[in-house]
């Protein structure tokens, strides 16, 4: 029975991670071998594709895409924490907006984001936010808010209210209290939420596709450029290497912090 369980685990893990594994294999094959040998076995492993990725940076600048992803994701996730943390505290301790704000934001998760895409595009075109990292970060913040708010509300609810009361007796204002007492206590929850928000933002595609064209193109959109390459068709080896580089940051975070991310995702889903 235990053997059967291990077998099922192995099959499930392989099947679900198959796209990444297969792409990883392809990225270490030469262009010639990709054409002649589509199997998962590599006859002559090479790093040529990874070097070529940077060699064609005058046309497709992968480092620029990675930097755009990194900057807008940090900014977007950070901003969502900055907005949601005080709001979560207000919700939990004073009950402000518990009736309307929390359901509104939590239900946002169920709304197809394309609904907001067109008007935001038109507004962005007016105010000059199209194709900027800041403009994208503002959207990524919105995308993250439902999960971030639900997770922070859950985390703050677990903190004992006696701490607040003790500090209040000593005459601390709400804002001193939030900064000096609650923030340090909630730091682990904030860190996990930040990581999750970063991963979600990094993986976002729809708004990056709509709102960025050149300067602020992120890696999810940039990677698709390598598939639409003009002329003699797709250079699969380079495309594979680009994808490996693009999935590395979120996957590394996922492997390192799987336990906390798993707990957060499960909690966020059930409470949200």
């Amino acid at each position: 029975m235990n053997f059967l369980r291990w077998l099922v685990f192995a099959i499930a893990a392989l099947a679900m991670n198959f796209p990444v594994l297969s792409t990883l294999v392809t990225s270490f094959k030469s262009e010639a071998e990709i054409a002649s040998n589509p199997s998962l076995w590599i006859h002559a492993p090479t790093l040529a594709n990874y070097l070529d990725v940077f060699r064609i940076s005058d046309r497709f600048d992968i480092l620029h895409y990675l930097w755009n992803s990194f900057a807008s994701s940090i900014l977007g996730a950070g901003l969502s924490l900055l907005l949601a943390f005080p709001a979560a505290y207000g919700l939990v301790r004073f009950g402000t907006g518990r009736k309307w704000l929390l359901p509104l934001v939590a239900n946002l998760r169920a709304i197809p984001l394309i609904v907001f895409a067109i008007p935001l595009y038109l507004v962005y075109a007016r105010v000059g936010l199209l194709d900027t990292r800041l403009g994208l970060a503002l959207i990524l913040c919105i995308v993250n808010l439902p999960l971030v708010l639900v997770l922070l509300v859950a985390a703050l609810r677990d903190l004992p209210a006696e701490l607040d009361e003790a500090a209040r007796v000593d005459g601390a204002s709400t804002f001193t209290l939030l900064w000096r007492i609650i923030l340090p206590l909630a730091a682990p929850a904030l860190a996990t939420t930040m990581v999750l928000g970063f991963v979600y933002a990094w993986n976002e595609f729809l708004f990056a596709l709509i709102l960025t064209t050149r300067d602020a193109v992120t890696t999810t959109v940039g990677a698709s450029f390598f598939f639409a390459a003009s002329g003699g068709g797709v250079r699969w080896g380079i495309a594979a290497a680009v994808m490996v580089l693009s999935v590395l940051p979120p996957m590394a975070l996922g492997l390192l912090l799987y336990r906390r991310i798993g707990q957060s995702l499960a909690a966020g889903a059930v409470k949200g």
């Binding site: 796209p19 907005l83 197809p112 609904v115 895409a117 059930v270």
Partner: protein
């Protein structure tokens, strides 16, 4: 003290509220106005009221209903498949994961990959000359179906979506399963309940709320799907894989039909709201 709390609470919530009004409220107003106007990129600031013509135009277009049907079917099939597969894996693998939690890391990994990139990866994997799956089919079965052709595209996309997001169901259902107190199961065993009886009479009833929530989340996410379908097939396969989200995107960015695209997004919003209302009603009745 009470009024002080009220004031502090408002101050704490103000930044978030203002941000939401600007980033969601304003777009919604624009949506609403343009959905009842004739408007083009040149006349973007002077929309002309045309009543419900845009809605009629969206609803009377044949491929709108095709996209609606595709999304609905895709959402339902994917949600059911993910729920069943996730439930099976969660319960069957629970003894392994209980002792070695790090196994979860490998099962969670697919969720860390951008769906858009997963779509691109399958473009490589399913490519008829360089892809590993067609190669395997040719080598061992002598023939390979056209995975992204009109006949198979739906099934292929379902498999792609299910393989990536079953981990989500698995993770949540495993947490719920592990949270069932040991003594409940032990008491049932002592009363003579076998493994199947314990599953049907104890575990599944206790997990029902979580099963419902998981189904709902997976349905919504698969229904509104854009990224992986767009990067894998585009509106290819003869338009057979146009989802609702892709329909709105194409109406706006490809056809430039602002009014129609905006009207369709308003309909999408109403549909999402209706689903939410139903789910809310159901969960209240249970509680």
């Amino acid at each position: 003290m009470q009024s002080q709390h009220l004031r502090d609470g408002r101050i704490l919530l103000a930044p978030l509220t203002i941000f939401l009004l600007a980033m969601l409220g304003l777009p919604l107003v624009v949506d609403l106005i343009y959905s009842v106007s004739r408007v083009e990129f040149r006349t973007i600031l002077s929309p002309e009221f045309v009543g419900l013509a845009n809605y009629a135009s969206a609803l009377s277009s044949e491929n709108y209903w095709q996209a609606a049907w595709f999304s609905l079917r895709f959402g339902l099939v994917c949600a059911v498949a993910q729920l069943l597969l996730g439930l099976f894996l969660a319960i069957f693998l629970a003894p392994l994961i209980d002792r070695r939690p790090w196994l979860l890391a490998f099962l969670m990994l697919p969720m860390m990959v951008a769906p858009a990139l997963v779509g691109l990866m399958y473009r490589l994997i399913l490519h008829e000359f360089v892809g590993v799956v067609p190669w395997f089919m040719f080598t061992y079965f002598g023939d390979s179906p056209s995975f992204l052709g009109p006949d198979n595209a739906f099934r292929t996309l379902v498999v792609v979506e299910v393989l990536q997001w079953t981990p989500f169901a698995l993770l949540i259902l495993y947490s719920a399963y592990a949270a069932i107190p040991k003594d409940v199961r032990e008491a049932a065993s002592i009363d003579g309940a076998g493994p199947w009886q314990r599953l049907w009479r104890i575990d599944l009833p206790l997990m029902t709320p979580v099963l419902g929530a998981t189904f709902f989340i997976r349905f919504i996410d698969s229904f509104r799907v854009f990224d992986n379908v767009y990067t894998l097939t585009g509106a290819g396969a003869g338009g057979a894989t146009t989802t609702m989200s892709i329909w709105v995107y194409e109406a706006f960015f490809k056809s430039g039909d602002i009014g129609r695209a905006v009207a369709a997004s308003m309909l999408l919003l109403v549909a999402a709201w209706a689903v939410l209302a139903i789910v809310h009603r159901l969960s209240e009745r249970r509680a």
